[in-house]
Symmetry: D3
Subunit: 239 residues, 6 copies
């Protein structure tokens, strides 16, 4: 059964889109058509509530202009997740959500590593809302801008990242590490090999989850909360 | 001490703006300059996550174009609340938040009445996030569009509303009623007189809260979560 | 990549094993080798804590005697789930867990339908432990023995089931229905078609989840809680 | 609209009453008549449950003998708060409650600083009851008797206090500081200036909240929990 | 080992003291010296927060004037419990606390029956604080004054009580009933026989718990929260 | 009233059985017949979920072959507790449960000390389920095998244990220490004397609790969750 999954990078960074695409491609089934897009407008990276609010409009447009059987929002903040669920009956997941759910299936407690300190509260709040107030034992930031994260792949920077991860896991007594930023997707394997515990990248995990939902014939409930919004947009509107 | 409070109606309905303004004027201090504005663009009413996402951009623009000492977001969903807190150091409150906090100070448990069923989950989620999972004993909808709510002022419709409120309060064993929609602001006194328990309108309550914060010299913390976002907007952006 | 997933029916009922196998086959990838087994000993059906305790030993033996890349425990109580995670590094999921996680991705709140009243508390407790105290809005029983559930496929019984589901969903204001018993797996499609909301069968959902985990290269954390137990069994042991 | 707010210092310390009065006067509206009284009997300072129990009788008498439009209990433990709500329909707030609610409106998480270690559990318990189990990230004591707190105004002691606050905020990753003792009210501005984050003094915040409630025409719900107690006091009673 | 347990009826009703004494005597060990006293002053019955506050002073005096090896506060509100723990190192329990703990050991969920509607919120709050927010599935009132409860022993009134209990248990899906008022102690056996589920009377349960604590050599921790208060009472004090 | 309490050591270690018996004997009433047995089969010590699952079968057999008026499961994990409650109407307690309940009656927060790191999550999960997520401020391991714990009685090892306890209590700001392993029962008095706070041994506490329940005429509710399981065991079954 052929199917299209649209993966939406909520920011406008093409470099970020490419690393996301690379990870998706790695795990997607042969029958899955991947369409990895940037938000048509918004912000260069999502760091905080304001960025998230600006990015949401772009995410919604991406859903609307890319009819697909499933959608993955590739920002750990799960930018615009609920709003998207209103405008399609296809399953919509966020990578933060995907990674946290996955983490709880593999160990007794997880820690989240994100880029900026500003995102810590957003991820904590999401963890609570998803039900993981107890499972999530800590959210921590590298205090590095999202767009600089790939430096940690380099031999002189990787040990810095690794040491921070080890310290976080020990402090939180966690058994799984969640990557709380799409920009960390390129580091999943390297970190997992080094840490010897599951390291969850929501990009990969999200693709797997959506493919599973589709094979089971499941879609977003249209019963109440996510029933389609009436068209009420007015003059001066976005775009 | 003279001060300006900007009250933002997140939708584009002028009629709604006027009822909001009326309630604000009723309670504001003489020294308070009220500026009650509609979002410059977005949706005619906010009913659900998608509407809320579209409205958020307009709310942010309203904050940016109306420099004030305090801001009140006049939608019970508290549309864009956290994002606004990043772009100003003035206090920013939402009327949903204002009403729920107020309710917990006046009785042992409260119920919320909103317009549409789609909003129930949003308000429940907010109640949880604000800490009121236990205090909020139920969120209920009139199943009436936001823009039609004022009909309940009319003699033939008011008894319908009243009976629903009585039934909700009895079922939930609640001691306070929270009006979970700005469109209900005009009904506060009439309902409070009829129900003989506190009926909380977040518009009025919010004005009082912000004025209190200002007299205490308090503003939004800029320490971490709400520190100003860097400008990272890119081509194709909103507006 | 070829892989074996072992699906363990924790009870000894061959009829139940067959319906489980049927559902698994329906959703599994072509490359997945399914091995659907009954517990070698224990109870004819799992209804309550005592049955679950007896069944656990058989589930553990099934894991030990069926080396696989993933395991799915096909009882909504998730019989022996944590113990199994200690004796293999392959991912191990329970169908109750799989279904509840899935449900939270598709709607704002779910209800669970199970067979016997005795199982209600077990499923509620699991929902709490998995983090879904708020998402799970009710667990309800058909008050029908597990091994009699297939009668609801029949034209004279299906309407009884359907009406009960409708009543549950309305009472709980739920947007998704979780089938809280492996014996209900055969009813997933029929119920979903009739109810017009997502109906989650943990058997199908679990297969999808495990296949996703495997494609992402994820396994159970061996860091602490699920590190292998030392062999300390003593004379008189099971079997 | 002229109105009287009675502020009750639950202990018998005149010095404490004066600092409380000073803070109240600073923020109260011109039309507000402030009446700041000491409990007629009880304890010299409230440090722990026993002191609180003894002080409660005095707080109740103060309410009864000072008819007012609003009441503020000026102890961070919110001594006798619920009992007072039964004997008046005017709004009654405690300064601990006022400060914690206010803190959640200004930042993503707050810490509380109190005088004695004995009070830590009381404030934690109140935070939980008010709904702020997640928002309140820590309660900490200076380990200084309540009546000695004003020494921290002095140049040689203020740095000790400041350093402790900085350490608490860093450890808790908090964005707002709540002063968990009326005796700290005199330090609010100095601390806020030095820490550069909102420092909430419940005395000032409470006055603002009550004035807001009054302008909105709100009073304590008399529906059930706070309906007036029947007179059942018996021989040997207090006073 | 001979020991004295002081049982404090927080109200001044001699009739209530007698029924409490009767229940205590029934379960106490032969070596236990029971001393069942009324508060020396306060209220005729404890119905609500105000009554509780007035009663607390009397409860504290009873502890101080009756040196014992253990104390039981015989009001389901657990009047003054924490304050008492500060003024003695002997174990102090409340009957509400004793009954709720006991109930969780005997069934999967309990309901509480109390006298007056005003007490419902107090008992709910206590249930939360003791940790039983999930275990306690409902608190319900007979809407009968505390001092009138014994009428339910009479043949024409007992069926009314019984029917209410049955309805509560069914509605809450509870497996244990907690008597949420000392005045119901006389009805424990009769109700338990009729309902055929455990009916927990905190008076009896509390005596058993304290005797158990004493045999184990356990006493109240004096480490921090319950360390003795300094004497700071001032002129005009109680009594 | 003469009564038999059966105390079940869920592992097969006779040495452990003896220390358990010693503690039971110390606190049991003269009229109590103690029967302290080892599980007939299973594991030499219970360290983790897998050991617990294997031990459960033995615990159930012990209940079935030792008809008694009460049962105490002498493992801090409360091995098989719920399953046992189905097969007898006598009260069944676990020592972890007994100790945690007791701890909350004596101080404002407790810490748990266990043997192995693997058990930490199990005890945390139990604490949550029993309602003590807030009361339990930390679970910590000595990282010592269960069967080696008695070395801490020795003069050269006791200070190591003591220092660890002191560090835990300070870090957690706890007021009571719970011994989270039956193997620590022999250390209760020595530790309590040294720490000068209540140290709770669930073996002793559990005996006291059960004796109390029996004197009150209370038994396990047979209403729903713990109603007797039907006999559905099948060929190949245990033993």
């Amino acid at each position: 059964m052929s199917q299209t999954i649209c993966v939406i990078n909520p920011n406008t960074s093409e470099a970020m889109r490419q690393v996301i695409e690379h990870s998706c491609t790695e795990v997607a089934l042969q029958d899955t058509q991947l369409k990895v897009v940037c938000a048509p407008s918004g912000v260069a990276s999502v760091e905080g509530f304001y960025d998230g609010a600006l990015a949401t409009t772009g995410v919604l447009k991406s859903v609307q202009s890319n009819p697909s059987q499933g959608y993955l929002i590739a920002c750990a903040d799960d930018t615009g997740l609920d709003a998207c669920r209103e405008i399609t009956s296809a399953p919509v997941l966020g990578i933060g959500e995907a990674a946290m759910h996955t983490a709880t299936l593999l160990g007794a407690g997880f820690s989240v590593l994100t880029a900026q300190q500003k995102s810590v509260h957003i991820l904590e709040r999401n963890a609570h809302q998803y039900g993981f107030a107890t499972h999530c034992r800590g959210v921590h930031a590298m205090k590095t801008p999202v767009l600089d994260l790939e430096k940690f792949l380099e031999p002189e920077w990787f040990p810095v990242l690794l040491e921070r991860c080890q310290q976080i896991l020990e402090q939180d007594e966690s058994e799984v590490l969640v990557l709380g930023c799409a920009g960390l997707t390129i580091l999943q394997k390297k970190l997992q090999d080094a840490l010897q515990i599951p390291v969850i990248d929501g990009v990969r995990a999200g693709i797997g989850l959506i493919e599973g939902l589709l094979r089971c014939g499941l879609s977003t409930s249209k019963h109440c909360t996510y029933q389609p919004a009436e068209d009420k947009t007015t003059a001066g509107e976005q775009g």
